[in-house]
């Protein structure tokens, strides 16, 4: 079967992903820039302000809010250390209590609170998050630089987690072998795969593990 040609920003079948976080991926970033084919100008540099909602009770659902929209992805599987995540739900603020009750809080895997309003603004939602000791909202600012290496979508990113700086690299594709080749080309074969949830939990002290470097 011919492999699907990836297009940055397009919806494709679920991708596998290698990602890591640390302080120094200078060599990988350089190699990424050299091996990359030209990519659309719109992905050369992207900046975003996001809020991740962390739950102490699970590592399988990844909830983030960007531009007033909520996006939850769920962990599907891991193959050879590469992770596959699928979209679970998308919502927009103000968001209905029904969606919070049936989709969002179940994804957090915490006790579902009583909802006394029909819908909630982002500010009201964040106030509810703040009240729950098992949940935490974390500010994440990203400056992402997009590349395409070995038909995998790659990026190098400067990320601020609650204002503190880390660097991230990633390679994602529907094809495992393409990611593995990219990891080899970028000399990150031995680097731990650390997803956003893991990285943020390590930085805010919920997981007692270091980043990759």
């Amino acid at each position: 079967m011919a492999k699907e040609e990836l297009e940055i920003g397009a919806i494709s079948k679920p991708r596998f992903e290698f990602r890591s976080f640390g302080q120094d991926f200078e060599v990988a970033a350089y190699l990424m820039s050299r091996y990359s084919v030209p990519v659309p100008e719109k992905v050369w540099e992207r900046e975003s302000e996001e809020i991740y909602i962390l739950s102490k009770t699970n590592d399988v659902n990844n909830t983030k809010i960007r531009d007033g929209k909520m996006d939850i992805k769920t962990f599907v599987t891991s193959v050879d250390g590469l992770e596959q995540w699928n979209p679970l739900m998308k919502g927009e603020f103000p968001i209905s209590a029904e969606v919070l009750k049936n989709d969002v809080y179940p994804a957090f895997m915490v006790e579902i609170p009583n909802f006394d309003k029909a819908e909630y603004t982002l500010e009201e939602f964040l106030a509810m998050i703040d009240e729950n000791p098992d949940l935490q909202a974390v500010r994440v600012r990203k400056e992402r630089y997009g590349y395409m290496v070995n038909d995998t979508i790659c990026e190098f990113a400067d990320v601020l987690i609650n204002g503190a700086h880390v660097v991230s690299i990633n390679s994602e594709s529907t094809e495992l072998d393409d990611i593995k080749k990219t990891m080899k080309d970028l000399k990150v074969e031995d680097v731990e795969n650390i997803n956003y949830l893991q990285a943020i939990k390590r930085v805010i002290g919920w997981i007692n593990k270091p980043l990759a470097n």
Partner: protein, 207 residues
């Protein structure tokens, strides 16, 4: 290092916002030694008057003496070097954390026992592991430094000005173009912000 007279301190944290002050200090100050230091900070939500850290198995507590016209005066106390007697843990460390002391089964705690049995298991206590590269400077008759600080692996820059004389601190701030609008942020406050213990950021930009 413990000193007898508490110093007044001004400190800022950030990245680009702090780098301009760091560059000014590099230009005008006299560089001293560079130190690589690993420290464990212990924090609790309710505690803002104590700065509790462990370096080379020695636990120090700095107590906030006063806040005055934008400066803070801290008084350092060396609690001791691990292993520590349970009385010190009960009577000095937990009161500073503002957290109820659990039952202490041992007479003496090693650092590992203290962390594993008393700190990491307490949901009210947060731990920040820091790796610092500190660059000391003499400047305007003040003790100054800038530092690259990794907080649980994430990087911040900081710059500090200290003196027993607050007027010297103000003078140094002026020479570095640090205006009165710049917030004085001490270590516990900065670490709490990274750990998300203090939700005081500007959320409005997300709406």
């Amino acid at each position: 290092m413990t000193h007898t007279t508490p110093r007044y301190e001004f400190r800022v944290f950030g990245l680009d916002s702090v780098n301009v002050f760091i560059e000014a200090l590099k230009l005008q100050g006299t560089a001293g030694r560079v130190r690589n230091i690993a420290e464990i900070y212990l924090m609790a939500v309710g505690n803002s008057d104590y700065n509790i850290k462990i370096r080379n198995k020695a636990l120090d507590i700095k107590t906030l003496v006063r806040q005055e016209n934008g400066l803070e005066q801290w008084n350092p106390t060396e609690v001791g070097v691990f292993p520590l007697a349970k009385e010190k843990i009960k009577n000095e460390i937990f009161p500073a954390l503002g957290v109820e002391c659990p039952a202490l089964d041992r007479d003496v705690y090693t650092l590992k026992e203290f962390m594993q049995e008393l700190i990491l298991v307490d949901p009210d206590i947060k731990v920040a592991l820091t790796e610092k590269v500190r660059y000391a400077y003499d400047f305007a008759d003040c003790i100054c430094e800038y530092a690259e600080v990794q907080v649980n692996g994430a990087l911040l820059h900081t710059l500090a000005i200290e003196s027993e004389n607050p007027d010297l601190v103000y003078n140094a701030m002026a020479k570095l173009n640090i205006g009165i609008e710049v917030e004085n942020v001490n270590y516990p406050k900065a670490l709490k912000r990274v750990l998300g213990l203090k939700i005081d950021y500007d959320i409005n930009k997300f709406f």
